[in-house]
């Protein structure tokens, strides 16, 4: 690239637009939706934004499908080798788009929470929220929010529509993140995906303080982590003289430079990524943010952020550090075990459902690492599959959680779920199925995914780690079981929460999650095929 830069400094690098079309569509759509925010009258924004974002995701999906049909199996590198559009990238893009679509539906739903889960403006409720004792308690519901009619002018201001451009930008960032072929692109993408997320975390209509606190924590820690990432980038640049993953890989094989730079850089880089993937011990933000953020956003983060983070981690470790994996694998073992242990053990005693799922996601991050660590085609494909499966299940779980409400919003405390099966057998059944999926019981996607990942790990000589992982998944099963016990075997409390009849959007999203969880458990062949379609190219 250096050479190229010197020879023809003025020729723009060739761009394979077909390949990066999905990315462009999403980012472009994000800009358009910003313009909507700016110029549309309020009462039109909500329908317009929803329509736009759905359209954008759909179009991106179509573009992806069209390209995937004709894509070279080996994958290509385009945009001056900044992006690598190969099998895994396409798969991850697809995953992100579908999961993003689901999340958008949850976000867009205004029937569950009158007027939607997002507040007109952070300022508006400040006084209310600041009143003592209202921190986690009810923050006043204005009468005008009670009526559920769509798009009525009187109601328009109550729905905050700037969440849509944010989500679209984040989505675009994620897509760029998993495709990034050099560390700089990756860093920029990282910020592009993170910054909007920081913001949307703080937009909850209910429990303002929790929401804002989540935003602040996420932001500070996120920035902290990206600083590490960046320093790692710098060190690697110093080591390899380039931030291209391939260049690093080649440099790692033969360079006089001290390996201190290489491994120091790797370590810091990985830390940044592990943070995003909420891998213990870099998970500390996860429970708080998951609990504080508006549930649809939590769903979006839990599903998509994990996909993005592990997609990038996969690329970095396999493309840039595949040759040196004997040096770093030991450390990653420790990290994986730590993550599984933290997630499984701490999850046992959680009393808030969202926090519990957060810890479950920490444990799952540990399982995912097994696949990432396996420097084999199976390692890649199994990780990809796992991400897809986990994403859908967890998305649906949060969708269900958002339906169980009482006077002051969602009833996420475990005790409030007691005897739910009696009042809403369907919902309890769905939740049970999803939890069993998270626990990895056969005939759910969770099992297929675990199986794929663990067999990849075992195939790459990590048998002990697999056994440990299985033991921890048994431990983790306990807290999923706790919820089931509560829903089915316990008696209902008097002032139990009510189960809201979900609107079309939420219904679709949850159904999507459940169906995929089931299908991937029973007939995963097709998806497994996609996941194994092509290797990573740098």
């Amino acid at each position: 690239m250096i050479a190229l830069a010197q020879v023809a400094p003025l020729t723009a690098p060739p761009i394979d637009y077909a390949a990066i079309a999905p990315l462009l569509v999403v980012l472009g759509g994000a800009c358009v939706s910003v313009l909507f925010e700016a110029f549309l009258p309020r009462h039109q924004r909500w329908p317009a934004q929803v329509a736009l974002s759905v359209l954008v995701v759909a179009v991106a999906g179509i573009a992806l499908g069209v390209y995937a049909g004709t894509a070279p199996a080996a994958g290509i590198v385009t945009l001056a080798t900044a992006l690598s559009v190969d099998g895994p990238t396409l798969f991850l893009w697809g995953t992100l788009l579908v999961l993003g679509f689901g999340s958008l539906l949850l976000i867009a739903d205004r029937s569950v929470e009158p007027g939607g889960a997002f507040l007109a403006s952070a300022v508006e409720r400040a006084s209310v929220a600041a009143a003592p004792g209202t921190t986690s308690g009810p923050t006043g519901v204005d009468p005008e929010h009670v009526d559920r009619s769509y798009g009525a002018p009187g109601e328009a201001p109550t729905m905050q529509t700037e969440v849509f451009p944010f989500v679209l930008f984040a989505l675009g960032g994620m897509m760029a993140f998993v495709a990034a072929n050099d560390l700089l692109t990756m860093f920029v993408a990282l910020e592009v995906l993170s910054l909007p997320l920081y913001l949307v975390c703080g937009l909850a209509r209910r429990r303002r303080l929790l929401s804002q606190e989540a935003a602040v924590k996420y932001f500070l820690l996120g920035a902290f982590a990206s600083a590490f990432f960046l320093y790692g980038l710098a060190l690697l640049y110093g080591y390899a003289g380039s931030v291209k993953l391939v260049a690093i890989a080649t440099a790692a094989v033969g360079t006089p430079k001290s390996d201190a730079l290489l491994f120091g850089g790797l370590a810091l880089l990985v830390v940044g990524l592990l943070f995003k993937g909420s891998v213990g011990p870099f998970h500390t933000w996860t429970p708080d943010v998951y609990q504080g953020a508006p549930t649809p956003i939590t769903a979006f983060m839990a599903a998509c952020t994990k996909v993005a983070a592990f997609g990038a981690l996969l690329r970095v470790l396999h493309v840039a550090f595949g040759s040196t994996h004997w040096e770093w694998r030991g450390v990653m073992w420790v990290v994986a075990i730590a993550s599984m242990a933290i997630g499984a053990v701490l999850g046992l005693t959680q009393t808030d459902l969202k926090r519990m799922i957060a810890y479950s996601s920490v444990a799952h991050a540990g399982f995912l690492l097994l696949g990432v660590m396996a420097i084999t085609p199976e390692g890649v494909s199994s990780t990809l599959f796992y991400l897809l499966a986990y994403g859908f299940t967890t998305l649906a779980v949060f969708g269900v959680i958002s339906l169980v409400r009482n006077a002051d919003g969602e009833a996420t405390h475990l005790s409030q779920w007691a005897g739910l099966a009696k009042r809403s057998p369907i919902l309890a059944g769905v939740m049970t199925f999803l939890l069993l999926g998270l626990a990895g019981i056969p005939l759910t996607s969770g099992f297929t995914a675990k199986f794929a990942v663990f067999s990849a790990a075992l195939g790459d000589g990590m048998a002990p780690l697999v056994v440990i992982a299985l033991v921890f998944s048994a431990v983790a099963a306990f807290f999923y079981l706790r919820v089931i016990v509560l829903m089915y075997f316990s008696e209902t409390p008097e002032d139990g929460p009510t189960v809201t009849v979900p609107g079309a959007f939420t219904t679709v999203a949850v159904t999507l999650g459940v169906v995929v969880t089931l299908l991937l458990g029973v007939v995963p062949t097709l998806v497994l095929g996609w996941a194994g379609a092509g290797g990573l190219t740098g």
């Binding site: 250096i2 952070a122 300022v123 400040a126 929220a129 600041a130 921190t135 986690s136 700089l184 860093f187 920029v188 910020e191 910054l195 920081y198 913001l199 703080g202 303002r208 303080l209 929790l210 804002q212 606190e213 989540a214 935003a215 602040v216 924590k217 932001f219 500070l220 920035a223 902290f224 600083a227 960046l230 320093y231 980038l233 710098a234 060190l235 640049y237 110093g238 003289g241 380039s242 931030v243 429970p287 708080d288 609990q291 504080g292």
Partner: protein, 99 residues
């Protein structure tokens, strides 16, 4: 003067920033410490560019500045909002979410 010293300096600055994040309570200051870490990285990027005899590192530094600027915008917005609701910018006051 050998560029290695710049590297050491940047490492030092990075550490200072990290420590600052840990010890300071005011959200703004904490955030500034993070900025300090980013700029420490910039320093080392430039130094490496020098050592490798390339421009890439310096280009990257610009990238980083832009990103940092964006981060400032977002960050300040968030901190402002929480300051408004709580009338306090101490990060330790925001600990409703725990355990």
């Amino acid at each position: 003067m050998s560029p290695t010293n710049y590297l050491l300096l940047s490492a030092l600055l990075f550490t200072v920033g990290a420590i600052g994040v840990l010890v300071r309570r005011n959200a703004i200051v904490v955030f500034m410490c993070i900025e300090l870490m980013l700029n420490a990285v910039n320093l080392s990027l430039v130094t490496f560019a020098r050592m490798n005899g390339q421009l890439d590192g310096q280009v990257m530094a610009f990238f980083v500045m832009v990103v940092a600027a964006a981060e400032v915008v977002v960050g300040l917005a968030i901190i402002m909002s929480i300051f408004r609701t709580r009338r306090s910018s101490s990060v330790d006051d925001a600990n409703l979410l725990k355990y």
